[in-house]
């Protein structure tokens, strides 16, 4: 019975996600769903990412939080359009919440929309939002055992941002073991070693992200003219 209920919720979400995906395609906007545990550094990474590429791409942000608008305020200071979703207790964003938030964004004037999901390593991975790619953050202070303990999100992420590299020497985080575990469940995911504090790794990450956005634009141009 419970499985049935969950399956219906996911099916309904899938339908909403399909509508979102078509809308993103029509507007030629690339959408990144950014996920992680609480406190891994999603917002800090996003702040630096915006600094790096806002000269190249028009960026918008949807901030997901259970309560508070703290993260949206931080992103708003970067001078990009941002919408806060407060789920009031719910542990993940779903496609319908995104559809509602889109009404507040100038979608046709954006190249890249970043959705910062609820801090939760489990539930958000199950809900398609209509995004082009999922990326996730793992901070080294969380430990290298997370990929095998929370495999769904690590499997689905097209990019893994290993954050807080400035602290790695104070931890027992084993990069080789983590990479081996990741490769066992996600052979093609890109791994970026980063620090939102020092800026390490942002050039490579932002270059890769820029190329993802451009690739979608080129593909949709071909489709439109073909």
């Amino acid at each position: 019975m419970q499985v049935k209920v969950v399956s219906n919720i996911l099916e309904a979400n899938e339908a909403h996600a399909g509508v979102n995906r078509q809308r993103f395609k029509n507007n030629r906007v690339f959408v990144l769903n950014l996920m992680s545990s609480p406190g891994s550094g999603k917002t800090s990474i996003l702040e630096r990412t915006i600094d790096h590429i806002k000269g190249l791409l028009r960026i918008g942000v949807i901030e997901g939080d259970i309560y508070t608008a703290k993260d949206a305020e931080r992103i708003g200071e970067k001078g990009v359009p941002v919408v806060q979703i407060n789920t009031k207790g719910a542990c993940h964003l779903d496609a319908n919440m995104i559809a509602c938030a889109l009404a507040e964004l100038p979608l046709d004037q954006l190249d890249l929309l970043v959705i910062e999901n609820i801090g939760n390593l489990v539930c958000p991975a199950e809900f398609d939002l209509g995004e082009d790619i999922k990326a996730m953050v793992l901070s080294v202070t969380e430990g290298n055992d997370k990929p095998l303990k929370y495999p769904l999100m690590f499997r689905e992420a097209k990019a893994l941002l290993v954050n807080k590299m400035d602290l790695i020497s104070f931890t027992d985080f084993d990069l080789d073991l983590m990479e081996k575990d990741i490769r066992g469940i996600n052979p093609d995911g890109k791994i970026f070693l980063m620090s939102a504090k020092t800026g390490e790794g942002f050039e490579a990450w932002c270059r890769w992200l820029y190329h993802q956005v451009q690739a979608k634009k080129e593909k949709s141009s071909v489709t439109a003219s073909g």
Copy 2:
């Protein structure tokens, strides 16, 4: 409709939790539900806690993980009875999972049962397992903004273990602000500043926990003889 479904699941859980609670009472075992984000250090704290008080109390552990038995193996090395629950995707432990795990534990020979919940700052707080108290871990590397962003768990925790204090000087974690935020939602919760790496704070935490366990035993003796 969705609200109704969720409410039914929580009601069913409440009934199972009541049965667990009576069983714990009959066996005079004190039960601690330990919660946090992934990678805050629940298992490391538990390892040190066992080292500190296994001479005083008979301890058993239920380890909750989505996949793997890594944590149960770590705890098993401490020489205490441990049962692993693998939820296979589910984001929290529920009271029925605990009821099943209890069949594998010598409950009448324990003073303290610790349930290490799934690493998730959201969902586990909603599910009563029949425990005597909830405690939670927040590591300083996660940031001091977590109490207001995830208030339910911080409100319900009778003890907050602030872990990784050995790293605080490398972060911008503001202890005063965190305490102020906690006091706004949970005026009576005990706060322990700790490091599972250095051992800081364990004496105070273990003394407090020991007294909680003894208080339940004394209360149940009075009830039994009264």
